[in-house]
Amino acid sequence: MATLSLQNVVKRFGDSVVIHGVSFEVTDGEFVVFVGPSGCGKSTLLRLICGLDSVSDGAVCIDGEVMNEVPAARRGLALVFQSYALYPHMTVYSNMAFGLENLGMPRAQIEARVAEAARMLRLDPYLARKPTALSGGQRQRVAIGRAIVREPKIFLFDEPLSNLDAELRVGMRAELAQLHRRLRTTMIYVTHDQVEAMTMADKIVVLRAGRVEQVGTPLDLYNHPAGQFVAGFIGSPRMNFLTGRVANAGPDGAMIEVPKVGRIPTLAAAQPGQEVTIGIRPEHVMQDNRVGQTVTGTVINVEQLGGLSYVHLADPAMTIQLNGQTRLAFGDRAEVYLPVEAIHVFDADGMALPRVSVAPQARVELPQPGEAAHG
């Protein structure tokens, strides 16, 4: 049970800066997910928190205390490695007991703790086995068990599910979430899979090239992405982007002129002539023909999933998600409607433009996203 706070943390390896001044807070009991494409520094950040690497600048604080100089073992954290890092020459029991033995804990107490963790993770029958005799999911649970027995202040997970097959991953995801509900311990979880992030997190930290792009709840990030990167990264399939220029802007929003597509009304507060990118999620695009607000494209591919369908268009390149099944086929012209409420507008630097305040009657009801089973 602990809080964590990163204050302007910088990590340099030689001349290259890997983490550029990252700051955020994690409150007690929170499940925080670091998400970002590979190479964005999320694993490095985790190693800085647990003390396996030292920070070059800034401070890592746990429970308000600066931990920069405290060695990894004394920070009271437990790390579950991507490779599990189970000691291959020790039995499951010894793997879990090793850390406690190092603390000089009495044997009886070690046995009690390991038994408790084994029961919780359903590892009882395997305590005498070596890790090589276990399946991937079982190894994963041993790695988690090794973290649990130490009763850490914060659990750190470094892409723990990436070595499991898809089906097992969904199961372990639920198990981890359940574990978090039961232990109520602060957990920090690193992944490159935005579905894992969306489904498990209380709070998501989106990282890109060593910088924090946005911190927020999963729905915050989904509904109000701070920038084009977060908008594209969160959500599956990816958000559609169209580039254009602001034709005119007023208190009711801006009209964006998209070359070869036409004018698209938005609610962005923008300057006329500004280069912008508009974004809209596939699930918010509607197949409709309301006059003046439609976009027409050529169907280049249709994915029928039964409950919902993905239609890929060219000119403009777009993916739309339709509820139920569709009659659209390759080569058809599809007229789609982009609800003004669902359109995000980003400036040339990829930052989201603020919205104009809209009178309630002008609001358009957003279509409900389908029950998507992605990932």
Binding site: L52, A73, A78, L79, A85, Y87, F98, G99, R150
Partner: protein
């Protein structure tokens, strides 16, 4: 199972030409490898007379001896091939020129003369185990064996310890000068031991290590080969394991003892075998450092058997067999680790 291995062949029906080639090659290999060892062993159970025999024999043939009343000691038995006594087996008393004086063991009073061209020595197969049993009494074999064993065991344990520590540091810690240190260590492989013999001796003698078993042990403890071998193996151990152990509150010493050493077992076994063979067979350095016979190792004792004028070949050969045995046994028991070590290094 063994029969199946020994009769394995490629051709499903009958013999393929590759089978012939393979078996020929393998048999040649066996003869080449085992021939000398087998000959050594068979020779070590021959008597001096058996060894002096010309043409040399492979098996320990020996002339039959007979005890005859009125004659001291034993007399060699001959079979007469021609003349009046043809077919009889007689004991030779003495030889005078081309004539031999013989006596029948059953009738000691009657002496017969037979030309030596009509005589054929009566041979029998007999292993002279006394070569071995005499060793224990005559040559202080026990002491030499102990000296050799002590040096081998202690030096091997220390070698494993010191080399694995060095390898751990060189493979798992980042420090300035790590690469230069490693390169300098490897570079020493290029220096033949004979070149550093004199400086080493001067150091040993300054430290008062001459004529002490420790004088043989200490210089042998740090071997560049061992460090290199272990380092290469330890590089394959994932860093995650050490970091997990670090998160588990393990001190660096504990990581070394509980994680790195057990996981390096295959490489350690290989090095142990090497070290045992090196130390057991080591000759030049012990020869230089040890000059008193009470600290002799087996190879030096063997060498001292070869006198200037006369060499007691039966004992020398018996002792050579005794010297070979321990190394062979160790290899048999640890060879599993050798193949395992090589295999796992190859797979990863």
């Amino acid at each position: 199972m063994i029969a199946r291995i020994l009769t394995a062949r490629r051709g499903r029906f009958g013999w393929d030409w590759t089978d012939w080639a393979t078996y020929l090659y393998l048999v040649l290999g066996v003869v080449l490898m085992f021939g000398p060892v087998l000959w050594l062993f068979l020779s070590s159970v021959k008597t001096q007379a058996g060894l002096d025999m010309f043409p040399p024999t492979f098996l320990p043939w020996e002339q039959k001896q007979a005890r005859v009343p009125d004659h001291s000691g034993t007399l060699p038995l001959f079979r007469v091939t021609a003349g009046d006594h043809a077919g009889q087996s007689l004991a030779q008393i003495r030889r005078i020129g081309l004539q031999s004086q013989l006596v029948s063991p059953d009738d000691p009073t009657k002496i017969v003369r037979v030309p030596i061209s009509d005589l054929q020595p009566e041979m029998q197969l007999r292993a002279s185990w006394s070569n071995y049993s005499d060793l224990l009494g005559k040559f202080n074999f026990g002491l030499y064996f102990f000296n050799s064993a002590f040096i081998t065991v202690v030096a091997t344990v220390l070698t494993l310890l010191v080399n694995s520590m060095a390898a751990f540091a060189l493979s798992k810690y980042r420090f300035t000068g790590r690469e230069p240190v490693f390169l300098v260590m490897l570079a020493t492989l290029m220096i033949p031991p004979t070149i550093v013999l004199v400086p080493n001796y001067l150091i040993a003698s300054t430290l008062g290590l001459t004529n002490s078993l420790w004088g043989v042990i200490f210089p042998a403890v740090a071997t560049p080969t061992g460090v290199f071998m272990l380092r290469q193996y330890m590089l394959t151990l994932p860093d995650d394991l050490l970091e997990a152990a670090r998160m588990d509150n393990a001190s660096e010493w504990r990581i070394y003892w509980r994680i790195v050493l057990p996981l390096s077992a295959p490489a350690l076994a290989v090095l142990a075998i090497f070290s045992v063979v090196w130390r057991w067979n080591d000759f030049l350095w012990p020869m230089v450092v040890l000059s008193r016979s009470n600290v002799f190792t087996l190879p030096i004792a063997l060498f001292s058997f070869q006198g200037d004028l006369q060499t007691q070949w039966p004992y020398l050969l018996a002792m050579t067999v005794c010297t070979l045995l321990p190394v062979t046994l160790i290899f048999i028991f640890l060879q599993r680790y050798v193949t395992q070590g090589i295999a796992s290094a190859g797979v990863k």
